[in-house]
């Protein structure tokens, strides 16, 4: 009974945003310009369907960046051609499209895979074809264990947990109560947090959960309130659940520190939870607080420029997810320049050797053992004060 928009989903959005006409026109105007083949960047994204909030900004970002790169003359003197398919969040479709990208469109690199499910479906194909694949999905499992041709750009749930635990350590809080939803994001984050919590000398003294449709979490929070010694509460959640938890938390008068996850790192959370959000801390990427960053922050110019360009081009708010696509494409561009050619093996080696690339997600230093290349500095710890974010330093 879930809503799908069959008409749109069935429509195989195939867009070639080559500077198609533009490139031809340019070639005609400048007879001397090399009529070299364009570099082909393939993408399968969840532009419609339940994960459209991921795929939509990703597609817009890729289109925008390709337009800009081509207007500036392309990469290594070659224009970029973008081929995008909409998998509507369906892993089966993602597999089909990945196959088409590799076999028919013969792309040089794939930047895509909005969800972990669609990414996992395409990994064997990219590995077999020997084509670099930069995933935009969250799960650690995509790059762990390391796969030769697969990279990813977004930070992981585990890093969000570690960021929170490190903050707890610095505040000398060691007894944690967990409350999480039963959705996929919530469960995955809870699992990752439980895996690393021991490293920080933090003890989990309560572990509660709530359903996606729950209208009230006072029962769970009352139990946490009655648990002796709780110093901090961590809510792994997504959507309206964390806002309800935050309101119920204040209703019951709990005084322990409240942490939310990066899943609700948006202004919407503050708007929904209202005054109850005061004092809540959560980890977020630099992109969300672009203007609040220190001027000496290496990420500031990158995130401010991307945010400005995106919002001017598409008239909608920038999101972390579009940032993942930006990083995926720009990492490729960075590697192409260093490799000096589009040879797939050379491009792969150059990607793996990425060092000091500054993107929206953080500073990336990859290695043969790490195809993500981000560390905890990718996250900023934010606190809500007077209805706005403040970066905790």
């Amino acid at each position: 009974m879930r809503l799908h928009l069959p008409a749109r989903a069935a429509l195989l959005t195939r867009r070639c945003i080559l500077a198609g006409a533009a490139a031809l026109a340019a070639a005609a105007a400048l007879p001397g310009a090399a009529a070299e083949e364009p570099l082909r960047v393939g993408a399968f994204l969840s532009v419609t369907g339940p994960a459209a909030f991921l795929g939509d900004p990703e597609q817009k970002t890729l289109e925008m960046v390709v337009e800009r790169l081509n207007a500036a003359g392309g990469v290594n003197g070659r224009k970029l051609q973008l081929v995008v398919y909409d998998d509507a969040g369906d892993a089966e479709k993602a597999r089909t499209f990945a196959k088409r990208l590799l076999e028919q469109d013969k792309v040089d690199v794939i930047v895509g895979g909005s969800t972990t499910g669609t990414t996992m479906a395409a990994i064997p194909l990219a590995e077999q074809a020997g084509t670099p694949f930069l995933s935009l999905a969250g799960a650690v499992g995509i790059v762990e264990p390391v796969k030769k041709w697969v990279f990813k750009t977004p930070h992981t749930d585990r890093m969000a947990c570690e960021k929170i635990f490190a903050d707890m350590q610095s505040r000398k809080l060691s007894k944690l109560a967990l409350i999480s939803g039963t959705g996929g994001f919530d469960k995955s984050m809870r699992g990752e947090c439980l895996k690393v919590v021991g490293k920080y000398g933090i003890e989990v003294v309560a572990d509660e959960s709530y359903g996606a449709a729950d209208t009230d979490m006072t029962a769970q929070l009352t139990k946490i309130k009655a648990t002796p010694g709780v110093q901090a509460v961590l809510n792994a959640g997504f959507g309206q659940g964390p806002a309800i938890v935050t309101k119920n938390y204040r209703q019951l008068g709990l005084t322990a520190a409240l942490y939310q996850s990066h899943g609700v790192a948006s202004k919407e959370f503050i708007r929904l939870a209202g005054d109850a959000a005061e004092g809540v801390r959560l980890p977020a990427s630099a992109l969300l607080v672009a203007e609040l960053l220190n001027d000496e922050d290496p990420q500031k110019p990158v995130v401010v420029a991307y945010k400005r360009d995106y919002e001017a081009r598409w008239k909608s708010d920038v999101s972390t997810f579009g940032g993942h696509a930006y990083d995926g494409l720009m990492l490729t561009v960075d590697a192409l320049k260093r490799a000096g050619s589009a040879d797939r093996a050379k491009l792969r080696d150059a990607l793996e050797a990425t060092h000091g690339y500054v993107g929206t997600g953080g500073v990336v230093n990859m290695s043969a053992a790490d195809h993500l290349g981000l560390d905890l500095t990718a996250f900023r710890m934010l606190e809500v004060r007077k209805g706005n974010w403040v970066v905790i330093r």
């Binding site: 509660e208 449709a213 209208t215 139990k223 919407e268 209202g274």
Partner: protein, 291 residues
């Protein structure tokens, strides 16, 4: 322990009241047509979303809620007029499929009109919790309980004392006989859709300040309300109210005293058990007392 139990009780009764209102909507339509109206949850959504957008446009809260209920009622009446009535000769399964279609359509329209974001509605009288024997209760919870109580009382009076109410009960008990004594059953069907959608919208506007609302908020609340109606015995007035409250209390006490990991499971296991032991629901014995 006492204060804790009271806290669980307050949460359970609040959620239970909402489930009860939604369940009543299911039962009223079921009685008039033998149709399970799967669009019932969408009226809950329309109630919350319309009220939130009216408040956003500057309307006073109570006026916004009234407007939202009117809008949902109009949508309910249109659904009956344009879809259900036109398929009057079709069998019940077809009608149920029509309601599923209507539910998908309404969710799609809500996305277009109100967008995909989550919305908040201000509470009727502030957010400062009231301390009650060690439990802290939101004023909005009291509004939910009070409004539900008033609605149940008004509906009781309507079904027992008024001519239209009795006509609806007569149709539920025996459609053919009702027709023979001169009751316009088509009218009854229309009225039942109007009533059910209004009830859903009231529930939606009452719960939105506590639980927020979004274009897809109706699906799961509708499902819980359906479960409550089954639990109480589909078609039973008292059963719907009892089913809603029992379901709400089970969820909250289960989460509080047993484990929140099994919160949803507890409720559904109990429903399965009731269906095995008493297939007609808790109040199933009072079959002739159908709404």
């Amino acid at each position: 322990m006492g204060a804790q139990a009271l806290q669980f009780l307050a949460a359970g009764l609040t959620a239970g009241s909402i489930y009860a209102l939604v369940a009543l909507g299911f039962s009223i339509v079921f009685n008039a047509s033998r149709v399970i109206n799967f669009a019932q949850g969408e009226f809950v959504m329309i109630g919350g979303m319309a009220a939130a957008s009216l408040v956003g446009a500057g309307a006073p809260l109570l006026l916004a809620i009234a407007g939202a209920v009117l809008l949902a009622t109009a949508v309910g009446l249109l659904l009956e007029k344009l879809a259900i009535e036109r398929a009057a000769r079709a069998d019940v399964t077809t009608l149920i499929i029509i309601t599923i279609g209507a539910s998908i359509l309404l969710r799609g329209l809500a996305q277009l009109v109100w967008g995909k974001g989550i919305r908040a509605l201000p509470p009727i009288s502030g957010e400062r919790p009231i301390e009650l024997l060690g439990a802290s209760v939101l004023p909005q919870s009291l509004w939910v309980l009070g409004a539900t109580l008033a609605i149940v009382a008004a509906l009781s009076w309507f079904f027992e004392r008024t001519r239209s109410g009795r006509a609806m009960r007569a149709t539920a008990a025996n459609r053919l006989a009702a027709q023979l004594v001169g009751i316009d059953v088509r009218h009854v069907l229309l009225a039942s859709f109007g009533l059910a959608s209004a009830l859903g919208a009231v529930a939606g506007a009452l719960i939105a300040p506590i639980a927020f609302t979004s274009w897809d908020a109706g699906t799961l609340l509708g499902l819980k309300g359906f479960a409550a109606a089954i639990l109480g015995g589909l078609g039973s007035f008292h059963g719907a109210v009892a089913g809603g409250l029992v379901l709400g209390l089970l969820e909250s006490l289960g989460a509080g005293f047993v484990s929140s990991a099994y919160k949803d499971a507890i409720a559904f296991v109990v429903i399965l058990a009731v269906l095995f032991v008493r297939p007609d629901g808790l109040v199933g014995a009072l079959r002739s007392e159908r709404v």
